[in-house]
């Protein structure tokens, strides 16, 4: 049983529409930086993004090619499993649908993989149909390295650990392969609205 600390509020935003806040979350106006490892610094000349795995022809884009793809502005709420939520975050990026356009695959799952070795897994249907992007800008500015720049995943209908920072590609797979956190306690699917934080939730 914990004790209430008289007068302690924390730095949370007040006046928030509770309908926008998943169970157990608290809205912040900051953008906390969480990381599983040192910030990578891949030079743009060396950066590429790939689609590999179960498809006829792997695809890849250099930075220039990636930035030449159609992109869009996306405004979404994001929810971190560590309990903070940030509303109306504004990004710019390329829809995963665009990256997968014309691909024929029997894969049902993807693994997003990043510089530094981080991985996270999702059903293919959760990154298609307008649900996921590879984003390169936040609030009109190039995505800062500490927030995942040059590019990260944005999959806002899952807890934010699934929006892999420093992403370098998607591997299409017929089997589900739990990633960095999914193999160690965090939920395989991670729906914030069902509070699927931990394995077994």
């Amino acid at each position: 049983m914990t004790v209430v600390s008289r007068g302690f509020r924390g730095r949370r935003a007040a006046d928030v529409n509770p309908a926008r806040v998943p169970p157990g979350q608290y809205v912040t106006r900051d953008f906390p930086v969480l990381s599983a490892g040192p910030t990578p610094h891949t030079a743009l000349q060396l950066w590429d993004f790939s689609i590999i795995g179960e498809l006829d022809q792997p695809r890849g884009w250099t930075w220039e090619q990636f930035r030449a793809l159609p992109s869009e502005e996306i405004t979404r709420d994001i929810h971190c499993v560590t309990k903070w939520s940030k509303l109306d975050t504004v990004w710019r990026g390329v829809a995963v649908d665009t990256l997968l356009e014309g691909i024929e695959t029997s894969a049902e799952y993807v693994t997003a993989y990043s510089d530094g070795g981080y991985t996270t897994n999702l059903p293919l249907e959760d990154v298609t149909g307008g649900k996921a992007w590879v984003v390169f800008a936040y609030e009109g500015q190039p995505l800062a390295p500490e927030h995942g720049g040059p590019a990260r995943m944005l999959v806002p209908h899952h807890y934010f650990w699934k929006s892999a920072k420093w992403v370098r590609g998607l591997r299409l797979q017929s089997t589900d392969e739990p990633g960095f956190w999914e193999t160690n306690g965090y939920h395989n699917y991670g729906d914030p609205w069902q509070e699927q934080r931990y394995s077994g939730d």
């Binding site: 969480l34 990381s35 599983a36 490892g37 807890y159 956190w181 160690n184 306690g185 965090y186 931990y198």
Partner: protein, 85 residues
């Protein structure tokens, strides 16, 4: 840009809660580069969960996820852990 990283010290309380002994003086041998050193000197990152990395080769030594009733510990990068009890 790695001003966020801390040392193993920073999770001394959590580790003691889990292992029931003081762990920052435990000596771990990295399975990546074979360097041995105290857990207190490992590089600590706070992501969705805790990640301890080898200060020499950045290999993931341990991952820790905790909720109110359970702790998940993965020790992929520690070949041997020598603890004083």
């Amino acid at each position: 840009m790695n001003e966020l990283r801390l040392d193993g010290n920073a999770v001394a309380g959590l580790l003691q809660e889990v292992f029931a002994v003081e762990m920052t003086t435990a000596i771990g041998t990295c399975s990546g580069c074979s360097t041995a050193g105290p857990v207190g000197a490992a590089h600590l990152y706070r992501g969705a969960g805790i990640v301890l990395r080898c200060p020499h080769c950045d290999n993931v030594l341990a991952k820790i996820v905790k909720n109110d009733s359970r702790v998940w510990i993965d020790l992929p990068g520690i070949r041997t852990l020598e603890v004083t009890v």
